[in-house]
Symmetry: C2
Subunit: 335 residues, 2 copies
């Protein structure tokens, strides 16, 4: 079975976007629920999704296990996997890992740009590595089947997470810093560690992560993927578009500043360009995965390699990461 899977999106969801997912043939998306939201606020976002699942059952459904990929294919719908870009959702309470896993959270970043209770973000001057609570939470995430995502974490924290985690981890949306030296892009050391441990790197299409930004050429992007594959292999590579369709600029402000500052922080933007950047003209929404497929073929990837990078690798990673989960559920499954 060939799957098309997007390793990360945070769009301003609507029927229009859900229909674009279907038109693009996207079988599954890891969607961001929250950034700085606390537990109760996170649950409110789950509730909003529940309304959408009830309203558009012919387009989307909430996915809990890798088996839901086959269900998506069989029923012509897009499977939605929940994730959080920061651990604010678990507050200071490790018990919320299992609670949120039960509600469907399958990915959680240990930090988002800043220091968190668990790890350091990629914008901090000092990187603590995993904190005391960070190590405990990674172990708990391993136990219940929640993926450690280090997309916005610092280098030392990321390598420490790879080292400490008993299960492979992911960087769901970032590119090699050797191609475009943004703070959010990843060093060869991180990419190599992911490749060697069965982890995943989802190539981002967010313009700030691209060489040339919004003007980045498809051929340049695909050549970057080819070079990464040559150096580290293709098995751990996927796509995490980081699509933020239809979001107002107030949302990127929330993403960057949450409630941690009263000042303005432009993050990857700038005073002159504080808002969301325009997507490259060859990838505006989910209907453009065909362009990506064509671009990857043009740089020499085989059909099998393209299929793996556009979904097969994520599917394998999902199967290894989301289940079997807790003891009780394993025993139930064994019945």
């Amino acid at each position: 079975m060939t799957y098309l899977i997007d390793g990360l999106q945070y769009s301003n969801w609507s029927e229009r976007i859900f229909r674009q997912l279907r038109a693009g043939g996207v079988d599954a998306v890891h969607v961001t629920l929250v950034y700085h939201e606390n537990f109760r606020e996170t649950v409110a976002v789950v509730e909003r999704w529940n309304r959408w699942f009830e309203r558009w059952p012919e387009l989307i459904f909430q996915a809990f296990t890798a088996d839901d990929l086959a269900l998506a294919k069989a029923t012509g719908r897009t499977a939605i996997f929940f994730g959080a870009q920061n651990p604010s959702c678990i507050e200071d309470d490790i018990g919320l890992v299992q609670v949120l896993h039960r509600l469907g959270l399958r990915f959680m970043q240990l930090s988002y740009n800043n220091q968190s209770l668990l790890a350091s973000g990629c914008y901090e001057a000092e990187d603590t590595g995993l904190t005391r609570m960070g190590r405990e939470v990674v172990t708990e995430m391993n136990r219940v089947g929640m993926v450690v995502d280090m997309s916005h974490s610092g280098e030392r924290s990321t390598l420490a997470a790879v080292e400490h985690s008993a299960r492979p981890i992911a960087v769901t949306h970032a590119n090699p810093a050797s191609w475009h030296p943004a703070r959010r892009n990843k060093s060869d050391a991180v990419i190599s560690a992911l490749a060697e441990t069965g982890g995943m790197l989802g190539f981002s299409l967010y313009p700030h992560h691209l060489n040339g930004g919004s003007a980045c050429e498809l051929s340049d992007y695909c050549t970057m993927i080819a070079r990464t594959a040559e150096r580290f292999g293709t098995e751990f590579l996927g796509i995490g578009t980081d699509l933020c369709q239809d979001q107002p600029d107030s949302v990127v402000e929330w993403m960057r500043t949450g409630r941690w500052t009263k000042s303005v922080d432009f993050g990857e933007g700038s005073k002159d360009a504080p808002g969301f950047p325009a997507m490259p003209n060859w990838f505006r929404d989910a209907r453009d995965f065909g362009n990506l497929r064509g671009g990857l073929r043009s740089v020499g990837f085989s059909d099998a390699e393209v299929a793996a990078m556009l979904g097969g690798n994520w599917a394998r990673f999902f199967a290894a990461s989301f289940g079997p989960e807790m003891r009780g559920e394993v025993e139930r499954a064994a019945e």
Copy 2:
């Protein structure tokens, strides 16, 4: 398969009590998580249970569907089904019904002694019946598969819930008021409505619900059950012991007064006896179900009738009430 099921307990849980459940051969218990606790406080109680499930997996596990009864039997453990005695856990947010159902909540009382946002309690002078939100929440509970429990609700509200609910409802722990005229016991009209709609009545062993209180005789209790069965049939009858083992009296104070008053409310108790009453000497804990079995046989019930009332009827009701639940889950199940 013959099951032994307790329709309600709220004990101060410990390994000792879990071992008593095993010694008593109890296959499943509906346990009360909360009374006046809000959503976040309810989740903290779920977390506490998760710890217990992880610590004593050979004794207990969290149950989500009626199929878990067979799992309990097959693995020699007690299946734990969650419930709430008041709708404080959903606050003013109907979306929390589905969220809590996903976390395993299978029963919710619409009110506890007092007026709630949904219905009136049995201690109110005025009984509103179901409120506007109450009707909406019952419909949502029906949709997701959460049992409407009216044990502590007023007469009019209870009859309105039977009428409005598309699925059978329960009074998990109460006795006929004709036997012992306590406010918490139920009228013939309510008992008849439960019987006629496929609902359930769980006979309580809480002393305030018993003729003679703690001194109530086993034969008197079983004769009361026999008279109820003669008048209304046996198919809708079960046991809901209302066991509150090892609870300090501060807990009964919380149950009665929560945060709704600064005064003392003695509820079913009195100034002279404000605490938990002593259980009858023939039913001190889960190991005494054998006494109940013997008592029911002594008043003329057949083995099949006793088995039905000690678990078979609850098992059938669970199967009809907890699933199939939401559209998405039905479709997944159909795969």
